[in-house]
Symmetry: C2
Subunit: 320 residues, 2 copies
Amino acid sequence: MPMPLPTFDDVLAAAARIAPHAHATPVLRSRALDALAGCQLHFKAEPLQRTGAFKFRGACNAVWALEDAMAARGVVTHSSGNHGAALALAARTRRIACHVVVPEGANAAKLANIVRYGAQLHTCAATIAARETTAAQVQADTGATLIHPYTHPHVIAGQGTAALELLNAQGPLDVVVAPVGGGGLLAGTAIAAAATAPGCRIVGAEPEGADDTARSLAAGERRIDFVPDTVCDGLRGTLGEPNFELLRAHRVEVVTVPDAGTLDAMRLLWQCLKLLVEPSSAVALAAILQQRERFAGQRIGVVLSGGNVDLDALPWERAA
Amino acid sequence: MPMPLPTFDDVLAAAARIAPHAHATPVLRSRALDALAGCQLHFKAEPLQRTGAFKFRGACNAVWALEDAMAARGVVTHSSGNHGAALALAARTRRIACHVVVPEGANAAKLANIVRYGAQLHTCAATIAARETTAAQVQADTGATLIHPYTHPHVIAGQGTAALELLNAQGPLDVVVAPVGGGGLLAGTAIAAAATAPGCRIVGAEPEGADDTARSLAAGERRIDFVPDTVCDGLRGTLGEPNFELLRAHRVEVVTVPDAGTLDAMRLLWQCLKLLVEPSSAVALAAILQQRERFAGQRIGVVLSGGNVDLDALPWERAA
């Protein structure tokens, strides 16, 4: 049973719902980056969000939107990354159980983080089938509600609150650029921008090695049969069905970026903003630097999505 | 001719003078770091200051405090680090000349930064004698005013504005911790805290490999004959004479920290605050983590002084 697509009213409801729990993150500027890019850049600093990523917005909205009786049975998801940690903390803010299905061999530091926020881990084989079977079993055993990382309408609406805050704080923008993996952030951004800034273009920034969104929008139908190959570990997911519908409806553009450009952009962001952003965020600045003429002289909002970097494996060393 | 020691009125005047040019930087919190340290930490985020360090405050105050006739002849200093860049930008805000004396072989990236802000470089041999001769020659040739990196009273007063903002924003604090190299930031911090928060203790954090301040305060006289050996490149300077007088007058305490502790603290700050801090800033958190019982349960302000990290030479790799 497909859930209804989220609307701008859902984004506004999300903003009110998460306000007691989530940070209204600052917008950062850099004269040096403006000069380099030839435009005015307004960076929404989601690395400063709780759990270090925008994911907390959607997870928090989904958790607090549950009826009490449903909420009492807890929530479950399958994500060893930022969404898993975000859902764990969101559940803790409501004092309900959280189950996270993780594949064998997942990054130990990330798992420790999820456990630190109070979630229960359920390990399964590292296949999609095993993941879905295990999540279904947890649902059957506990009655927990599945909160998908990016197709759940409350998740999409929650992610849209980042762009809502950005546009409210900075006034009219010509463009908002956000990374795209599964499309939760980008779809929420499109909903928020279309309603608050009608002339504003929405641009998704996508790694060349996981360009299913660019290909899907070009083809007019989802093209999701691919093996991701990118340093952007947060953008390896497959474009979701409702996400695809929303991006198409809002005429979202997509720029694809090679990892080398993303890593250069990440260094620039570290140096100029003093903000630790992860590669999956830097792809947005990389898209702008790669297509300067497309953005020249404009007022551009950039959603820097997260800052959970593995300092023991800095990507530019791996890339070297 | 010794200049008078700066007072709290000078800090207030500095705050007004630099307000049009400097950022009022945010104060960051981290539940994870509070839990780890066993106290309440309020981090003043000077990496987000212009030029990436608190140094801009003092330089800006010194530049704008000059009479017009003096200002017209420009300013000069000898510092290839954060103060050089800060003075260059401060001079540019007043559209006056800035001369920076730098030793042969100084870091090219830092020099490029100083030039980018519009200063003129004067290269000399890498000795203190050559540096002072060259600076004196520039003064003789141009009439420029020498702005010492940390003994100049307007520099000390300007640095005090960081703690002033911190205490104004966060209310009463039990302790304020700041790094100490030459003592400009720590002396300014002591002046600001003594006046606005009378019960507040002032603690300097100093690398073990450059512990002249700890030794000087213990001895009751300056002990500055040492060869610095620390990864904290901003803290290798020698405690200044007025700085020593001010620290002694305000009964400032000092905690010395091994570089290993500083590098651990830097990683924690990157991970938990998502803020790129340099080792010379992280020493302050390291001091707190090293002496937990001394700070347990207290409300502590921490001045994170700067974020100008050389990403090609990450210190923990050098230390490994």
